[in-house]
């Protein structure tokens, strides 16, 4: 992938524990509010993709940002989660959203 070659180097590997930044900027954001501030484990590296926050504003979004599939424990994400203790939720988190 050309884009992946242009991209920023991934800082985290599979299995790394990462925390999503808690931030509330304006613009077009693909990091859902509910996951900000939470920590999870990198399940896979999806590649590198142009930053959607930039693409939304007619800019090229380069360098491409590494995109991680991160697995979070549901009971960590939702206070009083009513479900199995092993239940998880997975999201794609761009590297610049990891603190």
């Amino acid at each position: 992938m050309t884009l992946e070659k242009l991209g920023t180097v991934p800082l985290y590997g599979v299995g790394a524990r990462v925390r999503v930044r808690r931030a509330a900027p304006l613009g077009h954001i693909r990091t859902p509010f509910y996951i900000r501030g939470h920590a999870g484990v990198v399940e896979r590296i999806c590649g590198a993709f142009p930053n959607p926050e930039e693409l939304a504003q007619q800019r090229d979004g380069l360098p491409a940002q590494p995109l991680y599939r991160v697995r979070f424990r549901q009971k960590d994400v939702w206070p009083g989660y009513r479900g199995g203790a092993s239940d998880v939720i997975e999201l794609e988190i761009f590297q610049h959203w990891i603190e």
Partner: protein, 117 residues
Amino acid sequence: MIERGHHDMGGLPAGKVRRTEHAYDDWELRVDAMMMLLIGVVGDSKRMTVDELRKNVEALAPADYDKMGYYDRWVISLTQTMIQRGVITSDDLARKLAQVQRRGLSPISRRQRTKGR
């Protein structure tokens, strides 16, 4: 403080899921097709990104967002994006809307229904 957009609804309380199936109308499928062409997923008419489409959907007033159907949002957003991109102007659109509206009294306005899935 603006913490989350109206569209950013994960985890918020909401009612039961209504398992309705909607057969798409032709005009909705045309909006879908225009989007696919304009973001360049198919063909060579790329004029925008899908993130611009989303940005302009997110910019809708919350009450409108909730009231509008999916392709209602898309057609508004696509049109906004084409104006922002300079592909069309607001003036082009104003004139065209008036023109189409006048024609709307003709038999073209016959309801068209299609079987979607």
